[in-house]
Amino acid sequence: MNGALSSYSLSAEIGRRLRAVQDLMKAHGLGVLVAVGAGAPGGRGWIRYFTGANIWGPRVFLVLPATGSDTLVITRSPDDAEWLKRSVVGGRVESTLTARITPIQRLVAMLAELLPAAGAVGFLNMTALTVDEVQRLREACPAAVWRDLTAEANRIRQIKSAFELTAMRETGRLLAQALDIIAGLARPGARLGDMLGEAERFLRGRGCELGRVECAMNGAVFGEGVDVDRRPGQDDVLQVQLKYAGPLGYWHELSRVFALGRVPGPVAACLAATTQALAEAKAQIAPGASYAHVTAAAERSFAAAGFTVTGRHRLDCHTSGTDETDGACPPKDGWRFQEGMTLAVHPGSLLAGGLGFCLDQTVVVTAAGTAPLFPVEAALVQGGSA
């Protein structure tokens, strides 16, 4: 692991985040803040942000105090609790299964004790509470005031520290190496599952715990899923996109296009246009600019290259960090880029005939525009021969 990413610096970094959110709690008069977590996309990041740990199960609560660093993670499974205890920085972990209660039952009991002194309670990911959880909270604490602090806290975590930028670069470095492994195996007749299995082996072996791979062939943006038994041929152009969280839990997205032989003209033209659209989209990003500027630049670029845009296949960019998207997705009207944000940029224009590539780059917003978090080589890589 990168020497700058020692456990000491993670501990200091988590202390910084805790103090920042405690300032926010004070401003809102909150005695307790509860992060609602689940091992699902968008459900893991707050737990990682404040503890450094990954979660897997359906429900985890993180209880943050108004002062001090005595945080508590409540999870169901004793196995998950054991795992969390090994990685949580500076807090306690409890499991509920052997007591034959659920995490919400433990949280409700705790809040019932804390609330008279704590006053109002804040939540992160409050909208992700289930029907059963809200009913239990209301029954146990009928007079309590609940506040959703997710948007305010997201504004804090979207601005990255030097530590966080280093951690995201580290994930990018691992993804680039995994793509290099695929490049080494990509040749006509090679089995797709063997290429992806080797990339997975490498990433898991370096501590990437979460993530997924998406593939497409010949510029058809939506592809055909990942048919592991497919063996691309001489005239096939394979796109692989890796979206993974690195060893410290920071997401990075990186893609590459592998030509196994000659690249057909229309596919080459589409790839060149997408490369240009990515460059022009990035050029629009600067403090104060908006998501709409990025979309408009990408569409202008495709039109100038002679392509008809028929729709969208994905967002043109989004914030990224301890969650794949650490903010509202799609972004709310009025949301603006700020210096220190990290963005996964990937023009999402769908071209006539279902064509499109997902070329992406993760960048940091600077005072002058953007800087790549990890240097991206040419999008197109020539694979080996049969």
Partner: protein, 393 residues
């Protein structure tokens, strides 16, 4: 990854499609009995909580939020989610069903569900819900009640869980095929694990095998020192010659079934105390499997496991997890916390792992998927020893 079912696995997509049609027919029969015009399953992207999509459509869809809609007069299920890319890939992968994205229309997928409810039940009537209480967000519930104030939303989770807990011959065969693949993973582990090697890298080699065969994901975990809690390995951890290792898979098959399997390994012969605890665990597995006949309760199986350990003279101080649970398209296709009086039925598949906790916080977390029948439960993985002595060289 969202992937089509490999054709080589238990009859491939055609067999899966036929089985899904059986499930839909059964669910619709239940809908008629309960007088509901639609059934809506709520799916979150939590591993082990996306099973309703696999059960009713046959594809893994790693969306943070999706809904499966069964309408009384529609032959195929409708899956609604936000991402267009995920929807397009899911449409290619599903064995049966239509997949719709709301991305380009700019509204959340629940809005499409509300529109279907209005169209099908006409703003009044009854709509069945799956995972209503523990998966539906309260904000979604409010939106449904606001948009359809005269519709009664009926929680049918337990009813439909009872359907999916009883496995068809196809499902048993699919899970047995996964047991075979995981067995290959155990062999690879036995070949690669050596003192000094990274636990993480060895686990990753096994995961590379599974992903390369099309498995959608899962976890590979260890426990050491005879503690019963299995956890994923971390960077920097290495095997040592004295390790006594439980190596466990909780993994999703190519065809959408979860499987739990673990075995015990060491590089040196087990010390006497460990060997005796293993012997007790082997007996607890055999006894509880034999006892797992239709009608026996969850509590009785747990008590039986404890009794075996007591008969060996070990101090029993509690449970480290549940002794077993049903498993299938979700890791648990039933209760989050199983009631003591819940009863096993024929053709259930159980992840069986006697969970007796011994004094000193000791226990071997040995598990397998078992098929429950009238003569007891039989393992779905190929026969073989639960303990292997590995070469230290």
């Amino acid at each position: 990854m969202t992937a089509p079912v490999p054709e080589g696995v238990v009859g491939g997509r055609a067999a899966l499609k036929a089985d899904i049609q059986r499930r839909i027919t059964a669910a619709k029969s239940l809908m008629r009995e309960r007088d509901v015009g639609m059934l809506v399953a709520v799916v979150s992207g939590v591993p082990g909580r996306t099973g309703w999509i696999r059960y009713f459509a046959g594809a893994e869809v790693p969306a943070p939020r999706a809904y499966v809609v069964l309408e009384r007069d529609e032959a195929e299920p409708l899956i609604v989610l936000w991402s267009r890319g995920q929807a397009e890939r899911a449409q290619e992968a599903v064995a049966l069903g239509r997949v719709r994205s709301t991305f380009e229309r700019g509204h959340p997928p629940l809005q499409d569900v509300i529109e279907r409810i209005r169209a099908v039940v006409g703003g009044r009537g009854r709509v069945g819900m799956l995972s209503l209480r523990d998966n539906l967000f309260w904000t979604e519930h409010e939106a449904l009640r606001t948009a359809c104030p005269e519709v009664e939303f009926v929680d049918m989770t337990d009813d439909v869980d009872r359907l999916r807990q009883i496995k068809s011959p196809f499902e048993i065969a699919a899970m047995r095929a996964m047991g075979v693949l995981l067995g290959e993973g155990l062999d690879l582990f036995a070949e690669r694990a050596r003192p000094g090697r990274s636990r993480l890298e060895v686990a990753a080699e096994v995961e590379g095998l599974f992903r390369g065969r099309g498995c959608a994901g899962g976890r590979v975990k260890y426990s050491l020192g005879e503690r019963p809690y299995t956890v994923p390995p971390r960077v920097g951890e290495r095997f040592s010659a004295d390790d006594i290792i439980v190596f466990q898979f909780v993994y999703l098959s190519q065809i959408g079934y979860w499987y739990e399997l673990s075995r015990l390994f060491s590089f040196r012969p087990l010390p006497t105390g460990s060997a005796r605890r293993l012997q007790a665990m082997e007996e607890a597995i055999a006894e509880t499997a034999r006892a797992a006949v239709p009608g026996i309760t969850f509590g009785a199986i747990g008590a039986l496991a404890d009794e075996v350990f007591r008969s060996y003279g070990f101090p029993v101080i509690g449970k480290h997890t549940e002794d077993f649970h049903t498993i299938g398209t979700d890791i648990r296709d039933g209760y989050n916390i199983t009631p003591q009086d819940w009863r096993i039925e024929r053709d259930m598949v159980l992840a069986l792992h006697p969970a007796t906790l011994l004094g000193g916080d000791l226990g071997f977390f040995l598990c397998d998927n078992f098929h429950a029948g009238p003569a007891g439960a039989t393992p779905l993985s190929p026969p073989g020893p639960r303990y292997r002595l590995l070469s230290a060289e």
